[in-house]
Amino acid sequence: MMSTETLLSLSLIIPALGAIGVAASGRRPNLRESVTVLSGITLFACIALITSRYAAGERVDLLLGSLLPGLELRLTPEPLGLLFALLASGLWIPTSVYAVGYMRGNNEANQTRFYICFAVAIFAAMGIALAGNLITLFIFYEVLTLSTFPLVTHKGNADAKRGGRIYLGILLTTSIGLLLPAIVYTWHIAGTVDFVAGGILAGKTSPAMLALLYALFIFGIGKAATMPFHRWLPAAMVAPTPVSALLHAVAVVKAGVFTVLKITTYTFGLDLLTHTGASEVMMFIAAFTLLAASCVAMTKDNLKARLAYSTVSQLAYIVLGATLATAATIVGGGLHILMHAMAKITLFFCAGAIYTALHKTEISDLDGMGKVMPFTFAAFFIAALSIIGLPPLGGSWSKWWLMTGTVDADQYWILAVFGLSSLLSIAYLLPIPIRAFMRPARDNSYTGINEAPLASVAPLCLTAIGCIVLFFCAEPIVDWLMPITQDTTALAGATP
């Protein structure tokens, strides 16, 4: 039986080995892609095992090394991180299968580099999910930025170069310019950067400084795409669709909002934020982002661009949940990471499948295509409903918890924001399947069913079903997440 420490190190070693294996088998595509899928499955099993041991009450942490005296690289599993790790590693498997269909179907170049960077990105996501302190998290955060750059610029043309410049420019500027000083300042005043339930900043500085520090963190976490630092997300849509699917619906953006939730609960602490009101300014900015991005999404005719702005808006839900700093909104935020990931990856899979089968990227060209690609558009419809938040789909639960929390926090105006945003999401998402199924086809070159390759269609059906399944298993997840909002030392990992 392997010790949990070994499993923790394996959660980094497996994707790293995956990257090396892909590099070594680059000349034989079948072997290369088997390596990718296989590492996905073993990684997921590994994380699942850690999770079950955590649930059984085992608390561990793993010291990876020490940068400077006191500044340690440390992995400490906790409920929110394990949820994110399960999500990222779990969705890596269907995405790998999907990518095989997409990359081959579109004859993309440099496929080996693509799979290597993909594995490195997952490696970084695992590091972020399991990080035991801010510095470890920051390091893997930067690895994630740099490893996804070659994926975003995969096509290598002028457009990709421009998109890559915006991507890297915004993410590096915010992380070095805002997040790093926030972490150094935290270290300076608190003398530690460990994640401790209940936070480490209570009584360390004035409320005004706390508010400034919180703003530095939220804006510094550029991956959470809070306006005005959201531009990288639409710019990154030049990437091949599997990248957009996994990285820009799951790993990268969720790493961002995950970090927001993590610092809110483990660095600041909910009590401190509610007592000092340090997160109030950011609440307005998140609410603004939420509505503004929904409005922008409606104006976009390019399918991926519309989904990108929808992502910006949905991320703002989670940031808003964090800034409200109540138990219900934190749980709702954590739940939304999962629910939105499942729904949004389905939507991106659909967009990619449409591109592979029909070579269409604009929404206005999709009239009548529902009959040509029935499975794809059915999956799209289900996922869209989940994003909107209708039962019986997973997305309804996260919105429920977020809305309950706004009432707890006596911020009724945010309830109105949530309601308005749901209406807006109906307006920008539902017309797509409606056009596809209801309107007569303008492009009559397709008769009968013309779906993308099976390797692409099967994953998107699977994740669409996942959206439904999640509706019925939300309760255990809520119970799983609830302890992170409690200020108990029992949660602080193995440290006695």
Partner: protein, 496 residues
């Protein structure tokens, strides 16, 4: 062994000093210099080990007791700098063989290597001597041989650059000599420890203040502290590639060390010098950081680009010194080591490209790098890794220095310095990424089809330094321990 241990400080000076004429006499350059450099590396490692064990080592040259004879006095601060010189000399010497063969004419080899050994002697001498006048002597040895080395570069520009450096350097040396003369006039001794003890009783404090000003300015020129940096970009750009890499990593670091020694040890009494260096040094350091980086962005000639980046990096080191605190000196010492490794690696990688791309040696323009990543993947990867370290991305040495420096700035309650450091880092992103984009995204020129990867004897040294960067980025506890001890040793006399 005990003989070596006992006479370690003298051996470090005598070895290269005696090897230099042997180079000329035997008409063998590299064959003599290479083993000498390896021995020097071993000796400097041994020296650092002994200092970490035993604390301060004092060695009486020729058995004459100080203050009558010359004393070599080594603590953690100068042992660290000596190790840097030993390390960089050995690594760059491996690189030099092929590089020098392509850039110099055969009849100059032995001259070149003997000058280089003299220059190494001079720098090591400045490091380990405990006698103020001896500092001047070794400074002149290193400067005079340095002018010669730069003049040996290709093209007429080299002689002109050497002449400009000669004029500035002579001014600097003279200023230092005047400063030391004033100190002698005020105290009647040249031994550093003795000067420290007698300064408070000096009859004429105005002489002491004048001495301080002369020493600052003199060392400031050798350090290339803004605004005394004009000689540096031209000198680095025109020197042979190996010399550029070696000088950029060592010469300015030694000057920074000399500045520390004069300010904090020799003129420690009452902390007057420390207060003055804060008032004058901080603005100059910030000026160098921002203006150096800004000018680097607009350079198209790559050696000059890196040279201007050096001006900015010297600003970081000067900032650490100017903060005049333990944290600041620790950051400065760490950055001296780290920047030595970073710039060494970058200039070596650039040297590899020059070796393949510029048959005539010398200048290399940004446009010549178009698509180089396909022709020289390992060299380009080394350059990118060095560039990331220069930016200060986590897991590289550059991040550790930046962290230490930010910590020191916060400890001094200087938030605006934090902003300045971060802005300068972000400018580094721009000038490094400008190169990366050309190297990876631009189409290679037609005539570069025959360009292949650099020879192993040049590539391996570059990667050795990169490995050092990564190692120090992951585990800096020992380096930080040495730097901490160095900072304590330097500050031991201040305020007493």
């Amino acid at each position: 062994m005990s003989f070596i241990n006992q006479h370690l400080p003298a051996l470090i000076i005598l070895l290269p000093l005696l090897a230099a004429p042997i180079c000329l006499l035997l008409r063998r350059g590299w064959l003599v210099a290479m083993p000498v450099c390896v021995l020097l590396l071993l000796l400097t490692i041994l020296l650092l080990m002994r200092v970490m064990d035993a604390g301060v080592i004092s060695y009486e040259l020729g058995g004459w007791e100080p203050p009558f004879g010359i004393e070599y006095r080594i603590d953690a601060a100068n042992a660290l700098v000596a190790l840097l010189i030993g390390l960089i000399s050995a690594v760059v010497m491996i690189f030099a063989k092929r590089s020098v063969e392509s850039e110099l004419s055969t009849d100059r080899y032995s001259l070149f290597y003997s000058l280089w050994l003299l220059c190494i002697t001079g720098l090591l001498g400045i490091c380990i001597t405990g006698d103020a006048f001896n500092v001047f002597v070794f400074l002149e040895i290193s400067s005079l041989s340095g002018y010669g080395l730069i003049a040996l570069g290709k093209g007429r520009g080299a002689s002109l650059a050497a002449l400009r450096y000669l004029i500035m350097g002579t001014l600097g040396g003279t200023f230092l000599l005047i400063g030391i003369g004033f100190l002698y006039a005020a105290t009647g001794t040249l031994n550093m420890a003795d000067i420290t003890a007698r300064l408070p009783q000096a009859a004429n404090q105005r002489t002491v203040i004048a001495a301080m000003a002369f020493c600052f300015t003199g060392i400031g020129i050798k350090l290339a502290a803004f605004p005394l940096h004009q000689w540096l970009p031209e000198a680095y750009a025109r020197a042979p590639s190996a010399i550029t890499a070696w000088m950029a990593s060592t010469a300015t670091k030694v000057a920074a060390y000399a500045l520390m020694r004069f300010v904090f040890t020799i003129m420690a009494a009452g902390g007057v010098a420390a207060a003055a260096v804060t008032q004058i040094g901080v603005p100059l350091a910030v000026g160098g950081m921002l203006i150096g980086s800004a000018i680097a962005i607009y350079q198209t000639e790559l050696k000059k680009l890196l040279a201007w980046s050096s001006v900015a990096q010297i600003g970081y080191i000067l900032l650490g010194i100017a903060l005049a605190s333990e944290a600041g000196l620790r950051a400065a010492l760490l950055h001296m080591l780290n920047h030595g490794l970073i710039k060494g690696a970058l200039f070596l990688a650039l040297g590899c490209m020059i070796y393949r791309l510029c048959k005539e040696g010398g200048e290399i323009k940004l446009s010549q790098l178009a698509g180089i990543s396909k022709r020289m993947p390992w060299t380009t990867a080394a350059f990118v890794a060095g560039g990331l370290s220069l930016i200060g991305v986590p897991l590289t040495a550059g991040f550790i220095s930046k962290w230490a420096l930010l910590e020191a700035a916060l400890a001094a309650n200087a938030a605006w310095l934090v902003v300045a450091i971060l802005i300068s880092s972000l400018m580094a992103v721009i000038y490094i990424w400008k190169i990366v984009e050309v190297a990876y995204f631009a189409e290679p020129a037609e005539d570069s089809a025959t360009v292949t990867e650099a020879p192993a004897s040049m590539l391996i040294p570059a990667w050795l330094l990169i490995a050092g960067n990564l190692y120090l980025g992951i585990n800096s506890t020992f380096a930080s321990d040495v730097a901490q001890r160095g900072a304590e040793a330097l500050l031991a006399g201040v305020g007493t």
